[in-house]
């Protein structure tokens, strides 16, 4: 996964300025944190821009950081078939979200966002069918939140 991540984040900053809140890299994998209000707009630009061309949404998930404000992070991995490059974008949102759904752009957002909702309780606005996907319908917790223990005696 070498090489183009830095340029992708650079172009993202040039295009959206302050909406790119933070950026970083580890082992040559680059990521950008974007303003949640711009989530859908930025994803659309990344998909449709002739250079970026991130035409596949590989994955959407969340990370819970209870000590941070805001505590939830939505993480998406995009893949560009033409440039053979993966980019990670994130948005920091409030406890239950909301954040815009990426379903208008990619069908793969459907099940992946449902799982993120199921596991973290993050609400994706504009999702056509935001139901639990792995847990029971009558389950009330969100398993991947950090306050939920692994075992409950």
């Amino acid at each position: 996964m070498a090489g183009q991540g830095e340029e992708a984040v650079g172009r993202l900053k040039a295009q959206f300025g302050d909406a790119v809140v933070a950026a970083g890299a580890f082992r040559d994998q680059h990521w950008a944190v974007v303003a949640p209000a711009q989530w859908l707009t930025i994803a659309r630009w990344l998909r449709d821009d002739a250079w970026a061309a991130y035409n596949v949404l590989l994955d959407v998930t969340g990370v819970h950081w209870p000590d941070r404000t805001p505590p939830m992070e939505v993480v998406a991995h995009l893949y560009s078939l033409t440039r053979n490059d993966v980019l990670r974008i994130k948005a920091r949102v409030a406890d239950r979200g909301p954040i815009a759904s990426l379903t208008p752009l990619w069908q793969s957002a459907d099940w992946n966002e449902r799982e993120t909702f199921d596991m973290f309780g993050i609400v994706f606005e504009g999702h056509p069918d935001l139901r639990r996907i792995l847990m029971n319908e009558d389950y009330t917790d969100y398993p991947l939140r950090k306050e939920l223990p692994l075992f409950r005696g």
Binding site: L58, L134, P143, L150
Partner: protein
């Protein structure tokens, strides 16, 4: 009874969660107009074990057995994928001999998984003979895996920084026998199906997925390649030395059930080619990284040196520490792209371990494939996606 559309003239039927053609505990709610599917809603989660939660509460090494239980038809491939992800996080690379052994494992797993797919999906469509042929060879492949790892299914073979045991010369000789026999066996399978009129009628033009649709649904692996997109991680982002092997990535044109069949058959031939090269070129040398803070030191050193004894004690009781950082590492497992997104805060367990499952995303395209087809073809579509619910539900 749940319904999907508002139409009063349709019949809703429930397929699964315990149905021979759903390949595990998959439930599909189908709404039918006569025999035509007008709506399809897969219902998953019956095999959800919360692996991502478990990963946060285990050391990196302790999570390897859980990767066996994701895609239980090719556990070795997931073992390798997870080990590679943690090695990337640590910034280490295993010795060449280990990479060769891992490639052999991955390709054996691919052949084994495709044999199950071929046998069961043909059985679903009434070609029962196929099942006996492929399961005979799959037993052979299981014998090899058992001799290498000590287990048929729960292999847990890789370690972070190596593998559990080195491959013996005798074992490599036996893999060679398997590799030499397989091309003829694949010819035999093809003789039964490739030009079989019933098979063609049941598979051609069924469950079509265009390249654009496949990409939009996040489909990867043979299902994506059958739709004409040449995306294979062994070529796109090579790992374990795959860049040094000569092999081709078969692609289809129609994106139907038949093309998925052709792609997987050809993938088995290519796997045989890769195995052949790996067996010819496997070097001697160590199989594990020489870093006692990550990998268990050899027993001899443990028994003769105080420092090594301490290292062994620390690794076994506490595990090793990963640096702070986050990585996404994906490998081409038999079903497609299996990715691990690991967020580390430093420490001995992942802060977050996301498993990007190939079968989960592939299965999400089922409704797209089935609507408009006959109800009997749903079975063909599920079989051609080749979902393993252990990996879908995690």
């Amino acid at each position: 009874m749940e319904t999907i559309t508002e139409r009063p003239d349709t019949l809703t039927i429930n397929m699964g969660p315990s149905h021979p053609a759903t390949h595990g505990v998959l439930r599909v709610v189908l709404e039918l107009d006569g025999e035509t599917v007008v709506a399809c809603r897969p219902d998953i989660g019956y095999l959800h074990r919360g692996m991502e939660k478990i990963a946060e509460n285990r050391t990196y090494l302790q999570f390897i057995p859980y990767t066996d239980r994701m895609d239980y038809l090719s556990p070795l491939a997931a073992n390798v994928g997870f080990a590679l992800a943690v090695e990337e996080l640590l910034g280490i690379r295993v010795p060449p001999r280990c990479e060769f052994i891992r490639v052999i494992c991955c390709e054996l797993a691919r052949i084994g998984s495709h044999l199950v797919w071929l046998g069961t999906s043909a059985l679903d469509l009434g070609a029962a003979t196929m099942f006996f042929h492929t399961f005979k060879d799959r037993e052979w492949h299981y014998d090899l895996i058992e001799d290498l790892t000590g287990a048929r299914l729960t292999t847990s073979y890789t370690r972070v920084g190596g593998v559990a045991y080195d491959a013996t010369p005798d074992w490599l000789k036996r893999v060679r026998e398997f590799v030499d026999a397989m091309p003829n066996r694949i010819d035999d399978y093809e003789a039964l199906l490739t030009k079989n009129t019933i098979w063609l009628k049941r598979t051609q033009g069924i469950g079509r997925l265009s390249a654009a649709d496949a990409l939009s649904w996040g489909v990867t692996g043979p299902v994506l390649r059958a739709s004409g997109v040449s995306y294979d991680l062994r070529k796109a982002r090579p790992y374990s030395g795959y860049e040094n092997y000569q092999f081709e990535v078969p692609v289809g044109t129609e994106g139907d059930v038949y093309d998925r069949y052709l792609v997987r058959i050809e993938e088995m031939r290519q796997s045989v080619k890769i195995l052949d090269q790996a067996l010819k070129n496997i070097p001697d040398g160590p199989v594990n990284v020489d870093d006692p803070k990550i990998f268990l030191p050899s027993k001899k050193r443990v028994l003769t040196s105080m420092e090594e004894l301490i290292h062994q004690f620390m690794i076994v009781t506490e595990g090793f520490t990963c640096p702070e950082g986050e990585i996404y590492v994906a490998t081409e497992v038999p079903k497609g792209e299996l990715g691990f997104y690991i967020v580390s805060e430093g420490g001995k367990s992942p802060y977050r371990c996301r498993i990007r499952s190939s079968a989960f995303n592939n299965l999400s395209s089922l409704a797209r494939q089935c609507v408009g087809e006959l109800v009997a073809d749903v079975v063909a579509c599920i079989g051609s996606i080749d979902p393993v619910m252990g990996e879908v539900d995690r």
